[in-house]
């Protein structure tokens, strides 16, 4: 009996404490115009104090009906729409879409075209990861990286402009090739970009990797287990951060990726910090691939010669040769004639696996085109990850996911 008097009644004390801190659940709409939701994502949060007890993502603010539009236009006409999917890496989308349609048409593009596309994809990956990194750093309180990476992206956009004629909405690929060859000396400028980029990238990563504030905000925050990453359909750096060793460039090589030597960084714990580390390392690997592609750039045509009925002929030929003029006329009026069939192709884009499922009944337009967007699938795990975290951690988790709503909502 004596002991009971000696120790205070712990149960009663806990009850007192919970009485003291008892809070009312609050419903907060985070977004659709919130700086950390990177676009127009709305999170309908239920908060208990600062703890998120329920998270319901609301999508669709940027839904434009891309799949419906695709059913109503020819295959080449849809290329500009792919720019607007993941608008931070339009070149990579262009390539993924072109390969999907080429698969339907049973078309093999020449080696030079593939090498150009690889350079495009990897430069797009660098540009996308840079912004993802900068925005993530900014969300967790580090402004400097954001400024640094925009300088680098500006250099990349100059390269894109030189190659495609546009900085943002590149629309560079065509079914069966690319819209034009690389300008003279472009590869040298790509190489010199790579040379000066690596030290700056190291500097940027140094600012974050062992940064006390950044680590406090990200280490152990938003942990996704490997099983969860697979079950929820996560792809790209988000899945690899959780230890899923899937990189479509390695596993189902397309576009000649099997010729290049590169490593696939994989995380261990699956927290926001690991996802950041994966992106940082992927940029270095991208530089490696770009250098190899430039070094081994094959000569020859940059469009498939046997795609005459699909690929619009070159303008100078259209103006001088009857055959090409007729071809051009047929393609413009009727659209390129595709065989009937069903194909699915997905490419390893900066944000994850971007897939196109094309159902064709033959003719010039797809009968049904489903776009499997990585951001959409990656975000579907948000309710699970955000639950039980602090509201301020939601910002860090969103930053580490690096999603784009243009692609998510389509």
């Amino acid at each position: 009996m004596a002991t009971e008097h000696a120790f205070p009644d712990t149960a009663a004390k806990t009850a007192d404490a919970s009485q003291e801190f008892l809070t009312e659940k609050m419903s907060v709409a985070m977004g659709p115009s919130h700086p950390s939701t990177h676009g127009v994502l709305r999170l309908q949060l239920e908060l208990d104090g600062e703890i998120v007890t329920h998270c319901d993502p609301v999508l669709g603010y940027l839904h434009r009906g891309d799949e419906k539009i695709a059913e109503n236009m020819t295959y080449n006409q849809f290329v500009p729409y792919t720019d607007r999917l993941d608008y931070l890496a339009p070149l990579a989308n262009n390539v993924a879409y072109a390969i999907a349609v080429e698969k339907l048409a049973n078309l093999k593009v020449p080696a030079r075209c593939e090498a150009i596309r690889v350079i495009c994809c990897e430069l797009a990956r660098i540009s996308s990861h840079l912004l993802g990194l900068g925005a993530f750093a900014m969300d967790t309180g580090a402004w400097t990286v954001f400024m640094y990476q925009f300088t680098e992206r500006e250099k990349l956009y100059k390269l894109f402009e030189e190659l495609t004629g546009a900085r943002f909405t590149t629309s560079y690929t065509r079914i069966g090739g690319v819209s034009r060859d690389m300008p003279e000396g472009w590869t040298d400028r790509v190489l010199s970009f790579c040379d000066q980029f690596l030290p700056i990238l190291d500097e940027m990563l140094e600012m974050l990797t062992r940064n006390k504030i950044f680590m406090d905000r990200t280490v152990g925050v938003g942990v996704i287990s490997k099983a969860d990453a697979i079950a929820y359909g996560l792809t790209g750096p988000n899945a690899r951060g959780s230890g899923v060793t899937v990189d479509l460039r390695k596993d189902t090589p397309y576009c000649g990726y099997e010729q290049y030597e590169f490593d696939v960084p994989v995380g261990v714990t699956g927290d926001s910090y690991d996802r950041y580390l994966c992106r940082g390392e992927e940029m270095k690997q991208s530089v490696r691939i770009v250098r190899q592609a430039v070094k081994n750039m094959p000569g020859g045509a940059w469009y498939a010669e046997d795609a005459k009925k699909i690929f619009a002929p070159r303008k100078d030929k259209v103006l001088t040769s009857m055959e090409e003029l007729i071809n051009n006329f047929m393609i413009v009026t009727e659209g390129p004639q595709m065989p009937a069939g069903e194909v699915y192709f997905e490419a390893e884009n900066p944000k994850g696996a971007l897939g196109f499922f094309i159902v064709s009944k033959g003719g010039g337009v797809p009968y049904r085109m489903k776009i499997r967007s990585p951001s959409f699938c990656n975000l579907s795990i948000l309710p699970k990850v955000c639950q039980g975290n602090l509201l301020s951690d939601v910002v860090a988790i969103l930053g580490s996911f690096d999603f784009v709503m243009g692609e998510c909502d389509r």
Binding site: T245, G355, F357, C377
Partner: protein
Amino acid sequence: MIATADVTAALQGKFPQLTPRPSGDHPAFNVPLAEAVAVLKELRDAHAFDFLVDVTAADWGVDASPRFTVFWHLFSTTDHGYLRLAADCANDVEPVAPTVSDLWPAANWHERETYDLLGITFSNHPDLRRILMWDGYPYHPLRKDFPLAGIDTPLPDLEVGDLTKTTAKPAPMVGGPFVASPGEMNMTDAEPRAKDESWNERSEKPASE
């Protein structure tokens, strides 16, 4: 790559109603809708297709029967192979398909999207709400009888609509260059003008002041 022949044989031994489906690339199968979940579970547990890539559907047109086909794409993170499964919905007016969201949580949003855009109800889905269009939107835009130009609908927030007496405007593409429906508008009328759209070959340019 995965040993496709083995999977095909094993599956067809267990599910005799499974038939190969013509495909441009990956192995594909037709399956009766009632068996779809069992086949998917078998593929996941016994054949290492552990990754659900996609759930989607196609509408084969108003007059077609079966009108709706549901597609599942699977990927194996260990063998790196793809597989496509297709099942026709029995009901052409109110199509219903079984959910696989208890096998893969990833299916949750894919099925919500398919419900939203094509109007296929997934039975036993934990949270079957619209995801891309707003709650209360009356149509399913990816159905073939839905026009590309869109249909006039009330504003999402009914209170605002009542107050301002407005409805949502027709989609901006009505009469635009991308409306390829034949017979409704000829190309001359549909062709965009860079600045002044009030004239074309058929109707004269208004006299300038």
